[in-house]
Subunit: 333 residues, 2 copies
Amino acid sequence: MTDTSLMAAEIAEIAPAVQHCLTRNEGAMAALGEMLRRDAPGHVITVARGSSDHAAHYVGQAISQRLGLAVASVGPSISSVYGARIAAEGALVLAVSQSGQSRDIRHLTEMLGDTGGLTVALTNRADSPLAHGVDHMIDIAAGPEQAVAATKSYVCSVVAGLMLVAHWAQDGALQAALQRLPDALDGALRLDWSAMAAHLEGAERMTLLSRGAGLSVAQEMALKLMETCGIAAQAFSAAEVLHGPSALLRDGARVMLYATEKTGAASIVDTGARLTAQGADVLAMPPQLPALHPLLDPIAHLPAFYKVVEQEARRRGINPDRPAFLQKETDTL
Amino acid sequence: MTDTSLMAAEIAEIAPAVQHCLTRNEGAMAALGEMLRRDAPGHVITVARGSSDHAAHYVGQAISQRLGLAVASVGPSISSVYGARIAAEGALVLAVSQSGQSRDIRHLTEMLGDTGGLTVALTNRADSPLAHGVDHMIDIAAGPEQAVAATKSYVCSVVAGLMLVAHWAQDGALQAALQRLPDALDGALRLDWSAMAAHLEGAERMTLLSRGAGLSVAQEMALKLMETCGIAAQAFSAAEVLHGPSALLRDGARVMLYATEKTGAASIVDTGARLTAQGADVLAMPPQLPALHPLLDPIAHLPAFYKVVEQEARRRGINPDRPAFLQKETDTL
């Protein structure tokens, strides 16, 4: 199989794009972190859709774990459809939009600034309307992305958010681990995930289970399986799945565990064992990289997954760059 | 088909249970509403899992629309698995647990109280550990519920939360409409939803689309279809689905629109038309009740859905009271 898709080319660009994002934003993040320690927000509001929303959830999980703040994901429809005005006094407002073009994301973010929030945008377009309307713009510096499936822009959005967390929390271990992330992302591309490729073969449905930051990645994985391979994929917390959805996971139903870090792994593996006992076909975590940092390991493995997905799409006769009925930028109300 | 299941009996008890919840809690809600206006919270944190979490999202949507506050849904794993301490100074903490027994829900709620939050529990067990550990306990008064699928306890949790919103916001229209809700819930049981029954017949998958408070109900509907009928159901925002999942909704894929209130309906119907054009089999909203209130219409129609689900489970040879592999109370970490 030849590697000719834009998606494959962009997956190969993840590690250098992350290196660029780290280098370019070091100074801005140090300044922003200092400001956030001085005028400490009491809570955080994120504004995003699609893959960007999954990136926002990842960063939100890191903020809750390292800064001890509650993070509200506010859907743009609250203002665009329901006309509500949301108070953001004392809040950090984090908008994530790779294109920076969506009107509803921009309007909600500006409204939250008007009601007292400090607005920060993570975007891949420094000249976009969103970038111009916020207090602080962070250019995730992923470079041009042409495939419909967001890959390097998703990873760079997460990395930019984690840089912010590392500087804000003055977390030296996380800062140091971020510097080693590009090498890990490269290493992930060389992992043997043929077991996952076999698990996807012919699948109409797939259930992904994880926890914490890994759950955000599992949700992003499910979205990629839907949009790129036409597989009906759902991601659940390994705890939440026992509140109902596990009824479906029997009779050979395909399940994949995404357990990259020790703390959450025990309960994910335990849920996997319960589902195996009731007849599900459970793929444990494919081969892993050496541990880097609990907040980075979920994202570090993603290139291995993207590679399998790109190949699975082509195996199904789907052009991974242009899945049917999807657009790169989606403007909704 | 005879109506002998506990689930069917409990569905018939929804309207009287809601009447009981309204009568019993009127005084407590008036007092709590006054207190919340006096010591106005700056944001809200919800703590819940499963059906209770869907109820919490519904109430959260109402809080955002009517009180203009951001609502963070904090997963119990943040403390039970990741050991973080979340600051809740100035926040209203709303815990929802029908059983009040889950240790992780209780521990997180108490921790949020310790860090400065005002804690309120909505529970069906006034003598539960959760009820004893909060500043204010609201007994949703749904009465005993024995079927694994939560029906009347879900509706009563939402109603208790909406009573709180109505009193807190001094929203006379919402207060008056709540008094008419039991009649509407009774009326929903007499709606002809045979079109939905036909749409479910033989379905392995189902996609539900809605917005706002209706999206919380669509998520609860998807959970019921999974746990009671073994149908792989997913609910999406009618805007969010265009960010990827819509790629799957073609070639006869079954979709149901849940559009109960005018404001959100236009965009839901528009998304439905796009999906029909790409080949999906889209069921528009089945026959509706006369409009009651935009924040009540999504919940008012739910008994019609529950009835169809209970009958579909039996048509598939599943005991709706005891789906395989599920327990009424789930204790997770």
